[in-house]
Amino acid sequence: MVLQSVKSCLWMSCILRTPKACFWSTASGGLIIQSVSNDVYQNLAVEDWIHDHMDLEKQQVLFLWRNSPAVVIGRHQNPWQECNLRLLRQKNIKLARRRSGGGTVYHDLGNINLTFFTTRKKYERMENLKLVVKALKALRPLLDVHVTDRYDILLDRKYKISGTAAKLGRTSAYHHCTLLCNADKCVLSSVLKSPFKGLKSNATPSVPALVKNLFEEDPSLTSEMLLDAIAKEYAVQHQIDHHITLINPADETLLPGISDKTKELQTWEWVYGKTPKFSISTCLNMVYKDSVLDVKVNMDVKHGRIEVCNIDLPEQWLPPGLYSELVKSLTGSKFCPNETTTLVTTLLRLCPQDDELHSRWSLLCENMIRLM
């Protein structure tokens, strides 16, 4: 264990401290690292760290990682549009926003992620995916997998087993893709279906596709086998040792500044606040005292905060002062159930203690919060 960590330190130190005349000939060409953590935020932070800090001229890097259940949306996507947030909260599934573009994916331990780090000039997505296909075919020659024009890997020409996204910076670039080995398809399909109607946005939409696990095709395949096969193929192509270095994303001495990156990825401002501007136009059906009320709600949300809020209530259903207070509080606050709950309950404290008023208010607020 100690030897392993010392070894990994040595490997990382050779990346970080490599002088121009690099004498670590075994390290030249490529490096394969695997994360020991299953926290999606930590793993995404490692990707950012390598992209920002590592010199990829001398060697390219392959980063292998797996996450506990999480939904990862693309850089310019709208989480309300892409997934069922209420279900996510109920099932305690994390939501993360990555820095690369592309669509929404569901990660769990049956899904492996591969990130290919290269310099900007050597950025080649097709080559990377062909490497993965080659590795799969080497492992199971009868597997019918091929790469499409949209940089997906299809199984049996029909089922998508891998999706791709990329990020290009000034000098370095990375291309990451998933590989479905044995993920929970039921949770995947339920979580990636948004109940939201009436949402207008210019955010990048996801293209839904039929998915299938490699496990279903060949039950003898496991995630570890796939990781190993891909690492072997990478090692062959880059003429390096087939040796996977394990790294701990929480290690601040190895990756200075990583905890800040991890924290940034978890903030509300990043996950929800980076959503492009969108507008909601929906109708709440509220059942109140044996009658159904149709209440039209129109909201404009920018940077995750409500800019404009219009609620079309029947006349005198709520005292006008209270209604205007509600609208005023909502404007400028986060489009977030927690914050809205706090605000509306505070407003309730300040209004007259009337049971009917309270029940109407609670009904309206519950329905509003259900939107978020």
């Binding site: 693309g74 909260r89 606050s333």
Partner: protein
């Protein structure tokens, strides 16, 4: 040797001539030019032609400033070839074809000057060599010149004059600097000026190639806006193309003058993305502006090693470091991507010398390696040699930050503003929890077996409920006009909770019918929901009494604020081990906790509060007595 005699009225317009003619008869000027100027291979390196009047070959002349020449390439004035420029003289200095009639003017080929455009300094203008708007101005100038020196006849090219061979050029003794600043025409000055370079040069930063044959991308986010200043390598915008997200960084230092696209527009590779105004004095920063620091030794700081060989710093910062003999690899960069900023260099200097020194070439600067040992000696040396200002305040770069009040803070503002209307009074006391601590230690494993974490709060809450049964006024609510008091039947005791976002107060409903274990279960549920940010409206509304356990963080006595529409609140301090006297007069170790109550003095008086507090205290000091009153 050639001599040219020109009337002063013409030649006074030419600074060259003015210089030359100073010592001569003002009405008769003789300009001498070298007889056989060495033809030189300029103008795109062709074979030297037999040029005559290459004014810039005169001693002291610089290259033809005409912008039509192309950078650094003066163009020739041909002896025999008339000026043929329709649009200037071509980028390589070669004159273009003879302009058709109409462009030359009705009187034939147009006169040529030395170059065009900026070569108006010579006082002659080729009409065809000007473009656009400036053409009109120069046309006007030509006309003015013409009209003013009708006696000189037609304005002709010098070479035309030459070829007439009736003009003699005397060798110039004067060193004339052929400079734009020498254009000192009175009213035509502004017309003869070349490109309008006011303070900086505006450069169009084009969208560079993304790779993989991609020609168009969508602009997703701008990190800057018009008027912002950017440094090299700062991120400008984020674009997306086919699942790839690209961060575009600036190549120049300067100020953003124009954004060519808005969000969600399609941007094309090779087309301008932003216009950046670069400071002319600084010049264009080179594309690969990285300093290759020497190979790292193992003693270097880790964060410098990370970047390999590149240390990011703008040219101004590099100059400052160079002047002060500082190795960039030694400086800690605090800017974006560990970029070294000017403040970092100044801080480094300050650390080394103990004061901020202005970068002075005369200063004896101790090399960085030896500075550690020489630190005590160095300041004294410097004090002697350089006049160091004694107390110079270190520049503080912090700025005030204003943010709108939203969310949890807004909720707190509203609640506490309303609470101001309630006249508070406080009552504090001290409670001996020795027996309770012991009881809890016994019950904790039992609760854990049932999967529940047992803290002190369930006991406090239950004791409070038992006290409220005796003093129901504390569980009441006063209406807005203070006309009616409503005695609430349910004891919904709120527990103040500190979450990441701020203060929330969920309440445990109907404590009067709950056991201590039930309360513990409910508290656990509320705590887990609260930390996840998933509390519902029902959890947060309907409270009648509140307890705030600020002692988990610290403190003894507090002054809590009542949350309307309630009328009382209690704040619990931390449990301390203090020496106390028992009934026999012996000192023993007691677990002491302080409690501070606040109540609405409009309906609650001090006596009621004191009695309630005593009852609550007695339940906690002797937990077995709670058994008697438990329902």
């Amino acid at each position: 040797m050639f001599n040219v005699n020109l009337p002063w009225r013409i030649l006074r317009l030419c600074p060259v001539a003015r210089h030359l003619g100073e010592e001569v008869d003002p009405y008769l000027v003789t300009i001498t030019l070298p007889a056989e100027p060495q033809p030189r291979a300029c103008c795109s390196g062709r074979r030297a032609r037999d040029f005559i009047t290459r004014v810039w070959e005169w001693p002291g002349f610089s290259r033809c400033p005409s912008r039509y020449c192309g950078p650094g390439k003066p163009h020739a004035v041909h002896r025999r070839t008339p000026c043929t420029a329709t649009q200037g003289c071509g980028p390589h200095g070669n004159p273009l074809a003879v302009p058709p009639v109409g462009v030359c003017g009705p009187r034939g080929p147009r006169p040529l000057l030395v170059g065009c455009g900026g070569a108006a300094a010579a006082g002659w203008l080729c009409r065809g060599c000007v473009r656009g708007r400036s053409a009109r101005g120069k046309m006007a100038a030509v006309t003015a010149l013409r009209s003013s020196c009708r006696a000189a006849g037609r304005l002709v090219c010098i070479h035309r004059v030459r070829s007439c061979s009736s003009i003699r050029f005397i060798k110039s003794k004067y060193v004339c600097v052929f400079d734009k600043s020498a254009l000192k025409f009175s009213h035509q000055q502004r017309l003869f000026r070349t490109s309008a370079v006011s303070c900086g040069q505006i450069v169009q930063f084009k969208l560079s190639d993304i790779g993989e044959g991609i020609t168009e991308v969508t602009v997703k986010e701008w990190y800057i806006k018009e008027g912002d200043s950017v440094s090299q390598f700062d991120s400008i915008c984020e674009v997306q193309s086919d699942k790839a997200s690209v961060t575009i960084t600036s190549r120049y230092d300067g100020i953003i003058r124009k954004l060519h696209y808005s969000i969600d527009d399609i941007a094309y590779v090779g087309k301008p993305l932003v216009d950046i105004e670069i400071d002319a004095s600084k010049g264009l920063a080179s594309e690969e502006d990285v300093v290759e620091t020497p190979p790292m030794s193992h003693e270097e700081h880790t964060h410098q090693e990370i970047k390999g060989h590149k240390t990011l710093a703008t040219p101004a910062v590099r100059r400052l470091a160079m002047e002060n003999n500082i190795k960039l690899s030694e400086v800690v960069g605090t800017g974006k991507d560990n970029r070294i900023l000017k403040e970092d260099i100044l801080n480094y200097l300050a650390k080394q010398t103990g004061a901020i020194l202005p970068p002075s070439p005369k200063a004896e600067i101790v090399p960085p390696q030896r500075r550690a040992e020489a630190v005590p000696a160095a300041p004294k040396d410097k004090a002697r040699k350089i006049p160091v200002p004694v107390s110079r305040p270190i520049a503080f770069a912090g700025k005030d930050k204003t943010e709108p009040v939203t969310g949890f803070q807004k909720a707190m503002v509203k609640t506490m503003s309303a609470a101001l209307k309630i006249p508070h009074f406080g009552y504090s006391d001290e409670i001996d929890l020795t027996q309770l601590v012991q009881l809890r230690e016994e019950l904790k494993p039992l609760a854990e077996m049932r999967g529940v974490k047992l803290s002190f709060m369930p006991f406090f809450i239950k004791a409070a409920s038992l006290g409220l049964l005796q003093y129901p006024i504390l569980n009441a609510s006063l209406d807005e006009n203070c006309q009616n008091v409503t005695y609430k039947a349910s004891h919904n005791i709120g527990v103040a909770m500190d979450t990441e976002q701020g203060l929330i107060v969920p309440n445990v409903k109907n404590v009067q019918v709950c056991s201590v274990f039930d309360i513990a279960v409910e508290l656990n549920r509320l705590q887990s929901l609260g930390s996840a940010g998933q509390l519902g409206t029902s959890d947060l509304t309907g409270g009648t009494f509140t307890l705030s356990n600020i002692g988990t963080i610290g403190g003894t006595y507090a002054k809590p604020v009542i949350l309307p529409p309630e009328v009382a609140i209690g704040a619990l301090g931390k449990i301390q081990v203090l020496p106390r006297f028992n009934s026999k007069g012996e000192v023993f170790k007691a677990q002491i906790m302080n409690v501070s109550w606040s109540a609405d003095h409009r309906i609650i008086d001090g006596a009621t509060m004191a009695r309630f507090s005593n009852l609550w205290k007695s339940y906690l000091e002797n937990p077995a007595s709670m058994l008697l009153d438990l329902k």
